[in-house]
């Protein structure tokens, strides 16, 4: 087993409230897309709110009621890439502009966590802040230019 897993966070600002007709198709597809992630090879964990099904009720920034967060952990970059771009998840991605604003700044970040670690919203948002501040690097990167996991700590 790998000592490190890949965490990902992305934030998106919806164009209208979740219960609006404009977001209806997105909301309708969420259970299917989340179930797809849950059984995708290499999937480890995803952030869910108190309802326990998805993270749509979480608001990573208090003053912004339309900003959604999505955070998950994967065994490898390849596992995340396969799910993101080579599964039905691509259906949703291709329609992202019908539901989400274009964010001028980085809206996602990847980083390595010790296997078993579950990122918090605060921690995930700190990674988004980091990539916005410093650009891509080993501490926060994107799928376009992934960084390798930290080398193993010497065993005692």
């Amino acid at each position: 087993m790998n000592d490190f897993h890949l965490a990902q966070v992305n934030v998106g600002r919806i164009l209208a409230p979740l219960d609006s007709p404009q977001l209806a198709d997105f909301v309708a597809q969420l259970p299917e897309i989340n179930a797809l992630a849950d059984r995708a090879p290499g999937f480890v964990w995803r952030l869910v709110d108190d309802d326990g099904s998805d993270s749509t009720s979480l608001r990573p920034e208090n003053d912004d009621d339309l900003l959604l967060i999505n955070c998950s952990v994967w065994e490898s970059v390849e596992a995340l890439r396969e799910y993101t771009y080579r599964s039905d998840h691509l259906k949703v991605l291709a329609r992202r502009r019908e539901w989400f604003e274009r964010l001028a700044d980085f809206h996602l970040a990847l980083w390595w966590v010790p296997a078993g670690h579950r990122p918090t919203v605060t921690e995930a948002m700190a990674r988004v802040a980091l990539i916005r501040e410093r650009g891509e690097g080993p501490e926060a990167f994107t799928l376009r230019a992934p960084h390798p996991p930290p080398s193993k700590a010497p065993t005692a």
């Binding site: 993101t84 771009y85 080579r86 691509l90 991605l93 291709a94 992202r96 502009r97 376009r144």
Partner: protein
């Protein structure tokens, strides 16, 4: 040797019509292809097929793997078969030199940053529709997609596409380029006389184009 010279040399290997036929057969087949099947498809002997297939491997156009087709292993299972598949690398040559790949990448980068997915999809849909209408008599969607390089093949009742004509760009900008591609194919079906009732949707496989098509009800 410059990369242009290397590409020209590799492509020159395809100048031979028999070889070209073998290459098209192997690259248009979703699974790996053995010598016997390739020879049969090209209508040539097994040894001639083996000779030309290996020339294509030397040129870097095909790749080889070995597998026991019987599915058995261990002693007595027989020698593994030599199987061919399309090599991953891309070669593009234009005479005189053109750099549409660079232009495409830069345009995609800007379109992505500007968030113009919807506008790109609308343009692709209109372009596909016009292309479909212009196809005139060639109204069979399968043949039209084949002519456009998608390498269609039937997977039970679903038409899948073995080749992504926008591969490098789709790799770098998947949401943008795959969305554009789907819209283009939807437009094509709408414009084609024979495309009525067909549907296209995202249904990516590990390789090839992410779009799958289903024919009109009365066709299958």
């Amino acid at each position: 040797m410059s990369s242009e010279d290397a590409a020209l040399e590799a492509l020159a290997v395809l100048g031979d019509p028999v070889r070209r036929g073998l290459y098209r057969h192997v690259s248009g087949t979703p699974d790996e292809v053995g010598r016997d099947a390739a020879a049969e498809a090209a209508g040539i002997s097994r040894s001639l097929a083996a000779f030309h297939l290996d020339k294509l491997v030397e040129a870097g156009l095909l790749e080889v793997s070995f597998r026991r087709l019987s599915g058995r292993s261990g002693p007595g299972a027989g020698r593994p078969a030599k199987l061919y598949r399309r090599a991953e690398g891309e070669r593009a040559v234009s005479v005189p030199p053109r750099s549409y790949d660079t232009a495409g990448r830069l345009l995609a980068e800007v379109v992505e940053r500007a968030g113009l997915d919807g506008e790109l999809q609308a343009a692709a849909r209109a372009d596909g529709e016009a292309g479909g209408e212009a196809s005139g008599d060639g109204t069979d969607p399968v043949e039209v997609l084949r002519a456009r390089g998608f390498e269609p093949f039937w997977d039970a009742g679903t038409l899948r596409l073995n080749n992504c004509p926008f591969h490098a760009l789709a790799d770098q900008f998947p949401a943008l380029v795959c969305g554009m591609n789907l819209a283009g194919i939807e437009g094509l079906l709408a414009g084609l006389k024979g495309g009525q009732g067909w549907t296209a949707e995202m249904d990516p496989l590990p390789r090839g184009c992410c779009v799958a098509l289903r024919p009109a009800d009365d066709e299958n």
